[in-house]
Every structure is written in C-alpha cells, then in structure tokens.
C-alpha cells in the first residue's frame, strides 16, 4: 500500500520539479486551434457540397455559388492562420 502511495506521489509531482518547464497555454495557441478547426470544417463542407450536388440535392448553379463562397471563406481562414503563425 505504501508502495502505491509512493508511486502515485512521484508520478503526480514529477512535472513540478522538472528542469525544463512546459510552455504555458496562451490565448494565441487557442486562437490558432480555433482557426485550424474552422479550416478543417470548411474543407469538409466543400467536399460535402460537391457530394450533395452529385447526388442530386443541389442544382449545378446552386452548387457553384456555394462552392465559390466556401472557397472564399477558406481563403480568409488560411490568411488569418498565416498571420497568426507566419511560415518560416
């Protein structure tokens, strides 16, 4: 039982005494995460809109309009991502 207690204490306290400290979570990280999620979601939407068109739920005209709009939105997100995380 004492063994269990000892193991637990070590496991839990380890990060407090390490030499290198992990970076604190920042608001910017969370913003980037949100943008990445938005990008993934919009790319999926583009794919699904095409599938909707090909399975007859949308006319070609409607689809092209939606596709154009979505691609513009993706472009905005990508630009925002580049600003937040500039490529090196």
């Amino acid at each position: 039982m004492l063994v269990v207690l000892a193991v637990v204490a070590v496991v839990v306290a380890w990060p407090l005494y390490r030499a290198t400290r992990p970076a604190a979570p920042s608001a910017r990280d969370a913003d980037v995460e949100a943008l990445e999620a938005a990008k993934d979601s919009k790319l999926r939407e583009i794919r699904e809109a095409e599938l909707d068109y090909r399975t007859g739920k949308l006319t070609e005209e409607d689809w092209r309009a939606i596709d154009r709009r979505l691609r513009a939105e993706v472009a905005d997100v990508l630009r925002a991502l580049d600003r937040a995380e500039p490529p090196d």
């Binding site: 269990v4 496991v11 839990v12 990060p15 979570p25 969370a30 979601s41 090909r54 691609r71 630009r79």
Partner: protein, 722 residues
C-alpha cells in the same frame, strides 16, 4: 486485501481533490507545470481505482466472505460468470464501477488532448470538473457505501445473487449503461470548461465528439439490452414498460441524440451555441440523475431498491450541476451569440432544428411522466402516477415525426436546398411511404392507424437512405470509374460520419417498425390448461402436451435446483409449427427455519424460463406458472415428519415431489403471445450499432494531411484568382 482496497479509495479521493485544485491553480496562474501535474493526478486516479476495482472483483470470484458485499450478493454456489457480475449488482460495487469508468475515460481524453496539444485553455477546467465528479462518487463510496467493509467473523456461505439477475445480459447491461453515463460526463466537463475559459467556438465539440458518440452508443446498447432482457427473461412478455428506471436511461439518450445533431450545425455554421451548450449540460445532469434514480428508491419501480443513504448527497450534486450550468450559460450569453443565421427553412439545418425540438419534446414528456408522482405530491399533496397509456399518447406521434424527419434530413442540402432537387429526391421515398400503408390496408392489415403510419414513415426513411447510398455510389463511379462495390466502399470510407449516420437512421426505422408492429398487432392469451388441452392465439393452436421437471440438473447454469415446466405443441391449420418448452426455475430459500428443509426448495425465488420461438416475421412467446400449492402442502407435511432432514434427504424428497407433479399435474397457467416483427427491433438495434461504429471509426492517415507552411498564402492567392 480489503485494506488495500480501502487505501486505494482514500488515495483516489486525495488525488481527485488535488487534481481539481492543481488544474484550477495552473490555469489561473498560467503555470503549465501545475496543469500537467493535475493531469497526471487523473492518470494516477485511473490506476488506483483500477486496483481497487480489481480487488473487489477478485474478492467476488474467490468468494471471500470477509467482504460484507460478497456475503450479501454472492455465494459459493453461484456460477463463476455470475460471481463476477455480482460485483456491480450491489450499491457499493456499482458506485466503484462508476468511478473506475469515469477515471478511465477522463484519462483517455486528457491523454489524447495533451498529445495533440489541443484545448489547452479549456482542459484544466474540464479536468477540475471530472475530478470533482470523481471525488463526489469516491466520497459516497468511502463514507456511505463502502465495498471494502469487512466482517469480523466471516460466514461460510453467502446469500447468493438474486436469480432474476442470472442472465448473460448482466455482464453487459450495467457496464454498458454506466459507460454511457460516464462518457457523457466528458462533453459535459468540456462544455463547462469552455464556458469558464470563454473559448466558445466549436473546438470543444470537435475534440469531444467521439466521446459523445461513444456515450450515445453505449447507452443505447444498454437500453436495448435491458429491453431484450425483459422480453426474454421476465414472465410478462413485454420489452418496455415506461418504468422510471427505463426512463432514467432514455432521457439522457434522447438529449444526447439531439446534441449529436445540433453539434454538427455549430461545427459548420457557428450557430446554436447556446442551444448546444445547454443540451450537453442537460445530458450530463440527466446522466447523473439516471444513475441516482436507479439507486435511490424515490420512485416506485421494479428496480427500486428501497430508500438508501445516497438520496440527499445525490440531490445536492444534481442541484449544483443544474444551477451551475444555468449560471455559466447566463454569464457567457454574450459570447454564445450565433455567428450566422438560418438561411432558409428548406435546409438541413432547419430539419436538424426540428429534429432537436422533437427529441427534446420527447425527453420532456418522459421527464414529466417519470417525475409526476413527485410533482403531483408537491402540487396536490397526493402522490399520483401515470401509466403507459399516457406515455404512449404523446411519444407515439412524436416518434412518427422523428422517423419522418430521419428520412428528410439525408436528402436535403445544407444552407439552402433547391426546391427542384428536393422534389426530385423526395419522389421515391414519398411513393414508398404512401404505397406501403395503402398496400397493407389492401391486404387486410387494419385497425391501428398509428402503426400503419409508422410503417409508412419507416418505408419513407429506408427508401431515402437507400437512395442516398445508390446515388452516392453512382456519383463516385462517375468521378473515378470504379466498379459499384468498390465505389460503395470508397464512398463510405471517405464519408464515414455521413454514411454511418445514414445506417443508424435505417436501423432506427427498422426498430420503430418492429415496435409498431409488435405493439399494435400482438395477440395475447392467458389460459389455464391441463395436459391435452388447447388454447388459440392469433390463428395458432397451442396444446399443452405434457409437463416436465428437472432436479439438480442446472442446464442453464443459473443455480436453480428444481424446475417445473411444460412441452407445448404449436400448430396452425393442422400443420405443426413448433414446439415450445417454457419452465419455471425454483431457487431454494436460505431460511431453513421458517420455510422448512423441504419447503425451502419451493418457497424461495422463482424465475421464468421463457419458451420462445423467434422468427423474422413473428415471435411465439410463452411462459408458464405451474400450480405449486399441492407441492407446498406435501412439503409442509414432509417437514413436519422429518424436521431434521439432512440436505441430501430434503433434496431427494423435493425431487420426488417434482416427479409427482409431473406424473399428475394440476392445471398450469400459461401466457402465450404471438407478436409480429419483434425480431426487427433487435435487428434494427444491430444495424444502429454497425452505423455507430462506422461513424466512430478513426479517419485514415490520408485524411489527416496538413498543409505545409507557406502553402496557406499560396492557396489563398490561387483561390483569390479562381
């Protein structure tokens, strides 16, 4: 060993408190080391609760009667399989199971998120919530219902597992339900965390999506298994009684279903933030409420185990969760404003909204009916309750609308559907939906309007889903030229969530068709028959051929010593259809002093072994209630003559009485039910399971390609030109 278990629980409680504190401190002071320490506390919590749980299971398997719970719920004569499951038949063991599962899922989500570096602002608060819940359950386990209490003088034998619980489903039904409840606390915790951290975009939903789906899956499996267990094991022949405990598990499932749909809208359009967050919080509260209802005894139910000491703490927890949730949503209401508005009523978003309203409406109906005894007592002073007819009156129309919507959703586009496209896509489903009831009416199937409408709605939904697969595979073929089977496979693989969802819809349609048919068109007869007599049920002739008996020959490994039964011959228009062999198993009571050494064989618990012949078109179900009054009288005579009979002699006499019953049987009461399409319910359930697994399956590496740096700018330029 009990000492180890007790120590693990106390360490676990300490870890839960520390984990919550360290996470909150780390989040507020922006010290990642403390956040990580809090996370590791959760991992340690999982490890320690696993040890405690293992100790308990081992004690049951070993039949270690120094443990109080083992004495009360198991015995040396209980088969090994049921000794293991007996661990969670007890209040104490089931609480420990809850904590064990909660710790396991918490560790999993935190580990996954840490590895990907996601939700770093939200996770600490979520960790605190999960630790808080774990701490509550651990507190209850340590101080109110401790599974590791030992007895000073360990008895030689235990009381045994309640015979009604000796069914293979016992191994899966409670763990499945508890997995469902505990998995729902993960999205709950992350919703709370997102609200506290002010991070109200869809990332908390995306990251916990699989957990919500898995929770929904396990809860659904648990509910379905409970229904199947009731049908195939209990002597009443039904699968759903709107019993408070059944309802307790259905409510979070309904809210969870609503959430799974509306979450998609928030991911795509940033809409419905308040609604989603409220739904998830409600689902979490209902999951804890469901756990509480089963174990507290505040509502009269077949599962209610009488008043328990857990009532007050649980009410306090649920009240805190509910009040806290409402408070958080109100506090963050500005950040929860939608980013977009509904474009059109002719859109998938609108259908999802309607679906949500129906599901929440269903949940409200079930909630009202379940808690009505308490509501009426508060309002009028009299405890009154409503029965199945009231529930059916409201749930049936709502279920019809739900199945209808599940057919419209797949064929309508996001944002704004073209009217032309919609009409084209609805033509075939609508035809099927109208043709099926008309056809059935023409064939003479009549009398139950709601069932016929459900058949129509089900046909509508199935056709819509089938059409989606057809068109989708066709589209894939047009794009890649692949052969149909390959196209279909590729289609599903590349659109797992969508087509997994379609399969689930198909399964639910099949399930509801089965429910409608078996509720509306079943024929039931209760008859008292002597051997040779026949009764008629729905066109079938059921003849009581001969009685059967079995002594100390436990074929089904359930522990029943004596069983009395019958052989029934079923025929239709003179042609033999099947033979059924229902029986009743008798478990000796442990009270030798009161029931007598021979009498106790017949005065203990008894369970029905149902005689069932299931089929794709109809089930023939039967249960027997033998008349044991003569046996009991003779047993009393034997007990007076041989008050000190050895166990061997008593068994011999009891067996002789059973043989005597078979030789000259008094009339026995039979319940025979002929119900159509019951198997469709279980089949529908299996299809839903398959669909959920498809939707849950992790995407392949191909889909996870991330754009390299700089590509973003390049793509933006290219798209700008397009």
């Amino acid at each position: 060993m009990a000492l180890l278990g007790r120590a693990c629980l106390i360490i676990a409680l300490g870890l839960a408190v520390y984990g919550a504190g360290a996470s909150i401190y780390g989040a507020r002071a922006r010290k990642a080391a403390w956040i990580e320490s809090g996370r590791r506390a959760v991992y340690a919590l999982a490890g320690v609760t696993t040890i405690a749980f293992a100790v308990l299971i081992a004690a049951f398997i070993r039949s270690d009667f120094s443990f109080g719970v083992v004495v009360d719920h198991s015995s040396t004569t209980t088969p090994l399989f049921y000794r293991a499951t007996a661990a969670w038949s007890s209040q104490e063991g089931s609480l420990l199971l809850w904590v064990f599962l909660l710790a396991a899922w918490s560790s999993l989500i935190l580990w996954v998120l840490a590895r990907k570096g996601k939700l770093r602002e939200v996770a600490p608060y979520a960790t605190a919530v999960l630790c808080g819940l774990a701490g509550f359950f651990l507190f209850c386990t340590i101080f109110l219902a401790n599974p590791f209490t030992t007895l000073a003088n360990a008895p030689l034998e235990g009381a045994g597992l309640n015979p009604l619980l000796r069914h293979p489903s016992m191994m899966v039904h409670p763990p499945a339900l508890y997995s469902g409840y505990t998995l729902f606390t993960v999205p709950f915790a992350f919703a709370v965390g997102a609200l506290i951290a002010g991070r109200l975009d869809a990332s908390w939903i995306t990251s916990t999506r699989r957990f919500a789906l898995a929770a929904w899956f396990f809860l659904g499996v648990g509910i379905l298994l409970g229904a199947r267990w009731s049908y195939s094991e209990l002597g009443w022949g039904g699968y759903w009684a709107w019993d408070p405990v059944e309802n307790a598990s259905l409510m979070p499932w309904l809210c969870g279903t609503a959430f799974l749909h509306s979450a998609m809208i928030q991911e795509k359009r940033g809409m419905l933030k308040v609604w989603n967050v409220s739904l998830v919080l409600a689902t979490g509260v209902l999951a804890v409420l469901g756990t509480f209802l089963v174990r507290s005894g505040i509502l009269d139910s077949i599962h209610a185990f009488g008043a328990s000491t857990l009532g007050v703490p649980f009410v306090a927890l649920i009240a805190t969760m509910a009040a806290g949730s409402i408070g958080l949503v109100v506090w963050r209401r500005v950040s929860l404003r939608s980013e977009h508005r509904l474009d059109s009523l002719f859109s998938r978003e609108a259908v999802f909204l309607l679906n949500n309203l129906v599901l929440v409406g269903l949940c409200f109906v079930v909630f009202w009916g379940t808690f009505f005894p308490l509501i009426s007592e508060a309002l009028t002073g009299d405890k009154a309750s409503v029965g199945p007819p009231w529930f059916d009156r409201y749930t049936v129309p709502l279920a019809l609308v739900l199945v209808l919507l599940s057919g419209i959703g797949p064929v309508i586009a996001w944002r704004k559907a073209s009217l032309r496209g919609l009409v084209r896509n609805l033509a075939a489903p609508l035809t099927a939906g109208l043709a099926v009831p008309i056809l059935l009416l023409a064939l003479g199937v009549s009398g139950h309007a709601s069932a016929l409408i459900m058949f129509g709605c089900g046909a509508f939904a199935l056709t819509a889903v089938g059409q989606e697969f057809w068109r989708g595979a066709g589209a894939r073929r047009a794009m890649t030229g692949a052969a149909p089977p390959a196209a279909l496979l590729a289609l599903v693989r590349r659109n797992r969530r969508r087509y997994g969802g379609y399969v689930v819809h198909a399964g639910m349609a099949v399930l509801f068709i089965g429910v409608a048919a078996s509720s509306a068109f079943a024929n039931q007869r209760d008859a008292r028959l002597s051997p040779g007599q026949t009764t008629k049920v729905g066109g079938y002739d059921v003849r009581y051929v001969k009685p059967t008996f079995d002594v100390a020959h436990d074929k089904r490994e359930t522990g029943a010593i004596v069983s009395l039964g019958a052989v029934l011959d079923v025929s239709k228009n003179g042609k033999h259809v099947t033979t059924l062999d229902p029986s009743r198993g008798y478990y000796p009571s442990v009270d030798v002093a009161q029931d007598g050494p021979v009498g106790r064989f017949y005065k203990g618990e008894s369970t029905s072994e149902v005689g069932l012949r299931a089929g794709l078109r109809r089930d023939l179900w039967t249960a027997i209630e033998p008349d044991t009054s003569r046996i009991e009288r003779l047993a009393d005579v034997a007990d007076r003559k041989f008050p000190d009979a050895t166990p061997r002699l008593s068994l011999f006499i009891a067996g002789t009485l059973a043989a005597g019953y078979a030789k000259d049987p008094p009339p026995a009461t039979f319940r025979v039910i002929d119900s159509p399409l019951v198997t469709w319910i279980w089949l529908g359930g299996l299809i839903v399971v398959a669909g959920a697994l498809i939707a849950l399956w992790p995407a392949g590496l191909r889909a996870r390609r991330t754009a390299p740096a700089g590509y973003g700018a390049q793509l933006a330029r290219e798209l700008g030109r397009a």
